[in-house]
């Protein structure tokens, strides 16, 4: 087992990890908004139902949810098993949509009624008020909690191994049978790089939305960063992330030898 083989095997797992991450994100973000609307509905039964579901999903471990969605259809209802990856995606999407919905709800409820009323007196429809006036402000407010949740998702993907989906951590663990421990630590590099990249993206997003602040306090906004500062922040961030990654690799290799 040389380093290249191991790296390739881990990369293969990492691809699955990324797949789970990306697909969950793409489906849970809109579904979460829908659930948020449900949980704020004026129609009481719907509101109670949705809040009940959110309570159950947030109140039980994601691992349990994965197991239930994978095994229950086959073992209890005898309709065959879902493909493993699909089961994982379903469980992740539902779970994360519920968490996201609470973030959306908090964001939506934090917008002052003045914004809705300003839209109303200007003759906008309800959906225009929401999508043209409120939504961007909600996004600005939810970027920090959302980034937190999304970073957690990166690491939660490792739970997929409970039903033997070959994500990166499972592939690394398989090497333990060969007496190799360091691939397990090596996975940390992948996670760190990935999360580092996300952190940079979220930081940029926050800056991009800096002007979205209600109130008259004169917050100075630099609308366009100069190219020089852009390049230097980019290079700086890359350097920090790679420095951490290299330190981890060296540390691991030292441990293993």
């Amino acid at each position: 087992m040389d380093f290249t083989t191991i790296t390739l095997k881990l990369l293969e797992g990492f691809l699955t990890t990324c797949e789970i991450f990306a697909l969950t994100l793409v489906s849970a973000l809109p579904l979460g908004l829908l659930i948020a609307f449900g949980s704020m509905s004026k129609f009481k039964p719907l509101k109670i139902l949705v809040r009940g579901i959110v309570w159950i999903i947030r109140g039980t471990p994601l691992m349990l949810q994965i197991i239930v969605i994978y095994y229950v259809p086959g073992l209890v209802f005898h309709i065959g098993l879902l493909p493993r990856l699909i089961a994982v995606l379903v469980a992740f999407t539902i779970n994360y949509a519920c968490y996201f919905s609470e973030i959306y709800r908090a964001g939506i409820e934090s917008i002052s009624s003045g914004q809705y009323e300003a839209g109303k007196v200007l003759g906008m429809t309800k959906s225009q008020v929401f999508f043209k006036v409120v939504f961007v402000q909600v996004i600005k407010r939810i970027i920090p909690p959302m980034s937190n949740e999304i970073i957690t998702l990166v690491k939660d993907t490792s739970l997929a191994r409970v039903i033997l989906v070959a994500e990166i951590l499972k592939n690394a663990e398989d090497f333990v049978a060969w007496g190799l421990v360091y691939p397990l630590f090596y996975t940390g590099v992948f996670y760190l790089l990935f999360v580092g990249l996300l952190t940079i993206i979220f930081g940029k997003l926050e800056k991009r939305f800096a002007f979205v602040t209600e109130g008259s306090s004169a917050i100075k906004v630099r609308r366009k960063l100069s190219l020089k500062t852009k390049i230097s922040t980019f290079i700086g961030s890359i350097m920090i992330v790679s420095a951490v990654a290299i330190a981890v690799i060296i540390g691991l290799i030292c441990i293993c030898l």
């Binding site: 003759g123 429809t125 043209k132 006036v133 402000q137 008259s216 100075k220 906004v221």
Partner: protein
């Protein structure tokens, strides 16, 4: 019958009775100032006029058209409410500009959204016509619609630019609200309301959230609107300005119109005890 006629408005929130039978009338081109102590129901009255609250009782007619009738208990459809709201403009005490849009976009947003509906109606109308006499091909319709849309968009743009010039913010046209002073924000809010060409423009204490040195610029804009003969209802605590700009002053106390008349009489020759008390408390404050 007057241009705007409000009769017998009642409004309560749960147990609190806020408006207890308000009558108000206003001629076209007139400016009415509403004064009164805190909690007397001035904001609530403006919100009722703008269909943000529904009065429990009363009627409102504008230009001969019955806009609101409290004796009809059925809730109005959102669509009709929206159309009725467009008769009025409202400038809030705390501006409520849209923070994510530039000054220009704040002003053009609502007219542009309304245009969408207008374009749709125009297209429908053309299609119906085409069905009747086969005079128009699909391509022709599409072309006419796109010209119609373009012309209207240009009109919105030029109207908005004219408004921005009127409020004196040409250099700030691409700034965001958070980059403006309070006075500038309020001027943008006024332009935003004017962009929809309301028949009556309402102000709810437009200068109360501003530093004293910024009130002047906002009052100047309102003054210039008066010179254009716009019909306005202004809730204000600026007695000097009210005296100056209005054709009529309404003094509200505890949810009723306590006194009403031309500025000279109401302010220099008050009759009711409450108004005398109110005026002396206001002048005392100014004296300090």
């Amino acid at each position: 019958m007057a241009y705007l006629e409000i009769k017998n408005f009642y409004k309560s929130f749960g147990q609190t009775k806020v408006l207890k039978g308000i009558d108000l009338s206003l001629e076209k081109g007139e400016v009415v100032s509403i004064i009164g102590s805190s909690g007397s129901g001035k904001t609530t009255l403006l919100r009722c006029i703008n269909f943000l609250e529904t009065p429990n009782e009363g009627t409102m007619t504008l230009d001969g058209e019955l806009l609101f009738d409290g004796s009809v208990k059925k809730a109005e459809k959102e669509k009709f409410l929206r159309e009725k709201r467009l008769n009025f403009g409202l400038v809030f005490q705390s501006f409520h500009l849209f923070p994510q849009y530039t000054v220009l976009k704040n002003i053009t947003l609502a007219p542009t959204l309304l245009l969408k509906k207008k374009v749709k109606d125009y297209k429908k109308q053309l299609k119906n016509k085409a069905k009747l006499d086969n005079s128009l091909t699909k391509k022709q319709i599409a072309e006419m619609v796109s010209i119609f849309k373009k012309e209207n968009l240009e009109e919105i743009k030029s109207d908005s630019l004219a408004l921005i010039k009127k409020i004196g913010l040409e250099e700030k046209i691409n700034s965001f609200p958070c980059e403006l002073s309070g006075g500038q924000c309020q001027r943008v809010a006024i332009a935003r309301a004017l962009a929809l060409k309301p028949k009556i423009l309402c102000f709810d204490e437009p200068t109360s959230a501003l530093d004293p040195e910024l009130t002047g610029e906002v009052l100047k804009v309102i003054r210039s609107l008066k010179d254009e003969d716009r019909t306005m209802i202004i809730v204000t605590h600026e007695m000097g300005f009210a005296k100056n700009v209005s054709d009529k002053i309404v003094f509200m106390a505890d949810g009723v119109v306590e006194e009403c008349g031309d500025p000279q009489t109401v302010l220099t020759n008050p009759k009711s005890k409450k108004l005398i008390h109110f005026l002396s408390s206001v002048t005392n404050k100014d004296g300090e």
